[in-house]
Symmetry: C2
DNA sequence: CTTGACTCTATAGTAACTATAGAGTTTAAA
DNA sequence: TTTAAACTCTATAGTTACTATAGAGTCAAG
């Protein structure tokens, strides 16, 4: 199949597929006479694998590692487990940061009301004065 | 004062200050004979304002809007309020996405254990088979 | 007068795409 | 048979908010 069909089957854009090839995540094995990329079912599966990983916010570099690991089925899988643990930890940390940020934003928002002028705006006043807060 | 001193006073890198100038967030009003940028206390305050906004994850474009608004102190401040509300909503949404992602990652992680081979790896197996989940 | 610290501009790199330009290929209809 | 639409190709630039260079000029102290 050509790249357009692969794109449709995997719900991926054509440019993204070409980008993944450039990034060594999906190699094109064959080309047609007119130099069009040709793919088989294995490519569909690999691309879906990549998409599943991206849904988990894994980076392209992490995915590249996973694809490499998949090529040695006899090896131990603790590298995969460790990658997941690290990733979970990162997501956890980010959630905590955002929760703090949200509270900060909310309290800032409470410092103002409608019907005020820019000059009286509690938000701008707080942002203008020296705050001593860490993220 | 020259750019290095401004950088130190605001805990900002010299490059970042020059970048903010290029992005129209902080204009340099004066130059020395040797073409060095010169700043006053107002610049320190403006840069600190920008930093506070960045700590709240406001984008440079949003900050640019706020700086413009600050220049008409008599105007109504509901634009500021609305910007904050939108921003809070975005953070909220992102938190919810990340919480879902975390649960997804955790359940995926539970599908594997140490002491397995790549072939048996529950994580890779799940990622390989067709999943039907939305983000 | 030279050394070192500072500053200048311009350019490229980061992540993961997205969007274009300008060209060539294939398929279907007129 | 031609021609038009739809597809594909490569290469390049844009996105965000910086960071990191290169190569040159400026300034103060010893």
């Amino acid at each position: 199949m050509k790249i357009g069909e692969l794109a449709k089957k995997t719900d991926c854009s054509v440019q993204t597929i070409r980008y993944y090839e450039k990034e060594q995540l999906l190699c094109t094995t064959q080309r047609s006479d007119g130099n069009f990329r040709l793919y088989d079912e294995a490519a569909v599966e690999q691309l879906l694998f990549i998409k599943h990983c991206r849904n988990l916010d894994l980076s392209l570099s992490e995915i590249r590692q996973l694809l490499t690991l998949k090529r040695s089925p006899g090896a131990q899988c603790d590298q995969v487990n460790r990658m997941m643990d690290t990733h979970i930890q990162q997501v956890e940390t980010r959630i905590q940061e955002l929760v703090q940020l949200r509270e900060h934003l909310k309290s800032l928002r409470r410092s103002c009301s409608s019907e005020r002028t820019i000059e009286q705006c509690g938000i701008l006043q707080t942002l203008t004065t020296n705050q001593h807060q860490k993220r």
